[in-house]
Each structure stands twice: as C-alpha cells, then as structure tokens.
C-alpha cells in the first residue's frame, strides 16, 4: 500500500500532456493469488482444500451466533466468496503507462513468500491470527 501511495503521488506529477490519462496502480509482475494462498497455508500449517470444500465448511460453521461471526469473519462475506468461487481467469491489467510514470511501481519488490510472511506476522502480532 505504501508503494501504491507513492505511485499515486508520482502520477500526479506526470506531464500535463498526460492529462486525463488512465493509470493502473497494480503490480507490474504479479504473483498468482493461488500461489499466495499456498504460501499462507504453509505458514499457518493449514491444508489446501478445494473451494467447494472450504465453502461447505464455512456454511456449516454458520450458527448465526455472534461468537461464530467474530471467529469466522468470512461468514459476513459469504456472497462474495460464493460468487468468486472457481474464477481463476484473472484479467491482466496493463501497467505500461503507470510504470513509465512511477519509479516506485517500476522498482516494486516481487510478491513472494516473504511478503505473505510479513502480513501474517503482523496479523499475529495484533492478535487477529492465532500464533
């Protein structure tokens, strides 16, 4: 998010001739979501299961009680997870102009296991994820 913020500032400084230009603030060398999920599973010691199985377990855990909602926040996003099921044909966003206008985006680190590790570490530190 810090890279995205820096990129936005750099785009605002783009030459006036680029006025009205559309920029995509997106990773120029994307990692697949599946890979990132895999890293997270390894870090958390959780087995990877199919979408269908995961959704099934999610629905099964829906007791309607507040305690369940707190422990399983995805219940509040059930429609989102159902709609997204199995859709792995992600659209590729061109970042040619954005990279030309933003050094931060050009030089952004790849999203690898260490990135996922830093997020998980943060969420553990604040007590959102179990250790």
């Amino acid at each position: 998010m810090d890279v995205a913020a820096t990129a936005l500032v750099e785009m605002l400084d783009a030459p006036a001739s680029m006025s009205g230009t559309v920029f995509h603030i997106a990773h120029p060398r994307p990692a697949s979501g599946g890979t990132l999920f895999g890293h997270a599973g390894t870090l958390l010691g959780l087995p990877l299961v199919s979408h269908e199985e995961w959704l099934g377990r999610l629905k099964g855990a829906n007791t309607g009680e507040v305690e369940a909602q707190m422990r399983i926040p995805a219940l509040a996003l059930l429609d989102f997870f159902e709609d997204s099921l199995g859709a792995d044909g992600a659209l590729v966003l061109s970042t040619e102009r954005a990279s030309a206008a933003s050094r931060a985006l050009r030089e952004v680190k790849g999203l690898d296991e260490s990135a996922v590790e830093s997020w998980v570490k943060y969420w553990r530190k604040i007590g959102f994820l179990d250790a």
Binding site: A26, L48, H51, F80, S84
Partner: protein, 98 residues
Amino acid sequence: MPEAHLEPQAAVATGYGQSKWVAETVLKRTSEMTGIHTVIARVGQLSGDSVSGGWTTKEWFPAMLRSSQALGCIPQHTLVSLDSALDMSVGGDIDRWV
C-alpha cells in the same frame, strides 16, 4: 485491460462498476472542457505495507485467513470477483496486488 477509457458496456453489470465509470468520465470531460489537469488511477488490490506488513483486518483476504484457521483448512484457488471488467480493474483483481 489497457490503461484507457472504456466503453460504458464494460461497467454496466454493477452499481459499483457504474460509479467508477461515471467518476472517470467526469474527470475526462473536465480535462477536455476546462484544461484542468486530471489523473485517473485505477487501483488494484492493495496489500500490506512493504516494510511493516501492516494491513487492515477489515478485508476479504485477512477475513479468509482468520476463518481458515477456525475451519482448519484454506481454499486452493484464486478468488476473483468477476462482476464486470471495470470492477476488476478497480478492486477485484487479486492477481495484481501492490
């Protein structure tokens, strides 16, 4: 998807996409009519801070992880919102995390 203005057909599927298209069009027309400098930024999925790892917990990805700990498993594939092309460009494309 190119970094260019889209036909409205790309955005009709949801109110979310429609609102983004309208905002882009307002900026574009403003530039054309007044010469005021505008920049349109379509932001993909934002991820945590590159130094601290800090990332709000009020989002689908952290919600999925916390829930996976409770459920004892994590889903295998990419979850992508396919509401519309414009939705994808402005928020739903998790293959493009920054």
